[in-house]
Amino acid sequence: MLTSAAFEGLSWNLWADIVGLFDFPFMVHALVAGTAVALVAGPVGWLMVLRRQTFAGHTLSVISFPGAAGAALIGLPLGIGYFGAFAAGALALSGVSRGDSGTESRESAATGTIQALALALGLLFVSLYHGLLNGVSGLLFGTFLGITSTQAAVLALIAFAALALLTVAWRPLVFASIDTEVARARGVPVRALSLGFLLLLGLTVAATSQITGALLVFALLVTPAAAAQQLTARPMLGVALATGIALAVTWIGLGLAYYSIYPAGFFITSLAFLVYVSTRVRSVVVRA
């Protein structure tokens, strides 16, 4: 049940509470990692929504679960599992999507099959590895308590690399996403870009799922982007809005979770959804 003890240690002095967040190193690491992740999730999620690849994004995010579980099983660092799995997943998905029209339903069926297969393998790895239950909910729903300074640094580095790649490929990528046929006719390498984007999406998801868990990655990827697209059709402004929303939601969510007994994933997803609903309401009001 929700009780009055849901929030412990809050003093109603906002400033003191915010300063209190930085008392423990684990929280500082979590905030650094969360910031890095949100900075990438904003633009990548915006492109994902633009390219209508939400299902693929969800499948990629779920694939990190067997990756991490498999790495735990054979004693590798979790990070290697996360990033190994995303590469395999992105390749499998790009094999599925031919980009032809009229194959949409087949493609989504294949995507769904890949997703269920990945989760089934994750369950297999977890049940072979007996360090079981708490680990599972951590992998699926995230934990920000155990993030080390190395992990935070690695995530920041990945975020930087991903943003650099995105900046280089930005213009052709947006072109190819908006009008594939015209872009192909103009000589833009559409298929290579498509694979490249899936790899980038996988990289982002692999990084994000270390904070939010495999199942809740989606809240940071799709929800801020969907809200931003309700607010504006301009690319640059949209990306900036999506990133801003992702950042705000992550910070506030982590802060609330720090003082609460409930998981950060719940606060992050709920805040993001709240933003999305208000943008929907706003566009309905504006239209009326």
Partner: protein, 279 residues
């Protein structure tokens, strides 16, 4: 193998649940709504954990959550087809709620070991009681009956909604009914293969059947048969190799069937093209 009561229950429940998943999945693939199926299966998780957190029967939570969300998704789009971004946004939040209920539940003492949450996520087909089994059979039969009753108009409405609407078929109502049937099937199948894996049982045999048979009725029957075969094979494998969870075995088998079907389909197409070139 059939000397154990739990194996008999698993086979009976699995057969009917599998057949229902195959049939529903066939329409799901035809209507290109696999992502909606994905969302509904994850909703089942939140529903079950909410019921557990508030001390209600898990089954009630499962059915209420999936059917309410199915109605909601149907209501969002005019043609009972919400777009992927809306679905994704809503179910990201619903999964977040699931995480909350899981935290509440694991604090309440009853679920301190987290095993209940794992069962919901990954199923517990070997843990079904005799009552569970009969409920599974009843729900699956009802879902299959309802689906076959609306089968013809639903195929029409899925293939060409505009023409179907012009002929007086109630396209929107059919879409909504289909989503409710899908929700009930998802809730039932969650107990067998779990909220995270049931998409495999729904999508893989159906997609294989779509590739193998062109005639809709033959393809529909094939989807159900492949799903049931997947469940049987998976259960037998898990019995032979106890370290492999039954839901994993079922889903891996179903995926292999799909892979084989896709390979055969590609092979046939290559053959046809070659013959056309030679002619």
């Amino acid at each position: 193998m059939f000397a154990h009561e739990f194996m008999r229950n698993a086979f009976v429940a699995g057969t009917f649940t599998g057949a229902a998943c195959g049939l529903v999945g066939w329409f799901l693939v035809l209507r290109a709504q696999v992502f909606a199926g994905d969302a509904l299966s994850h909703v089942a998780f939140t529903g079950a954990l909410a019921a557990a957190a508030f001390g209600i029967d898990v089954r009630i939570g499962l059915f209420v959550a999936t059917i309410v969300v199915a109605l909601g998704m149907g209501g969002l789009g005019e043609r009972a087809k919400a777009d992927d971004v809306t679905i994704g946004t809503v179910f990201a939040w619903i999964l977040g709620l699931g995480a909350l209920f899981m935290a509440i539940f694991s604090r309440s003492g009853a679920g301190a070991d987290g095993a209940a949450a794992i069962h919901v996520l990954f199923g517990s087909i070997l843990g079904l009681s005799a009552t569970d089994t009969w409920i599974a059979v009843g729900v699956s039969l009802a879902a299959m009956g309802a689906l076959l009753a609306i089968g013809r108009p639903l195929i029409f409405a899925s293939l060409d909604p505009a023409v179907a609407a012009a002929q007086g078929v109630r396209v929107g109502l059919l879409g909504l009914t289909f989503l409710v049937i899908l929700g009930a099937t998802a809730a039932e199948a969650t107990q067998a293969v779990g909220a995270l894996l049931l998409l495999g049982l729904v999508a893989a045999p159906a997609a294989a059947a779509h590739r193998l048979a062109r005639n809709p009725y033959r393809s529909l029957a094939l989807a159900a048969a492949l799903a049931v075969a997947g469940v049987w094979g998976g259960l037998a494998f898990a019995y032979a190799v106890p370290r492999v969870p039954p839901s994993t075995a079922i889903i891996v088998l179903a995926s292999l069937v799909y892979l084989a079907a896709a390979g055969m389909d590609a092979g046939f197409r290559g053959e046809r093209i070659r013959r056309a070139r030679e002619a």
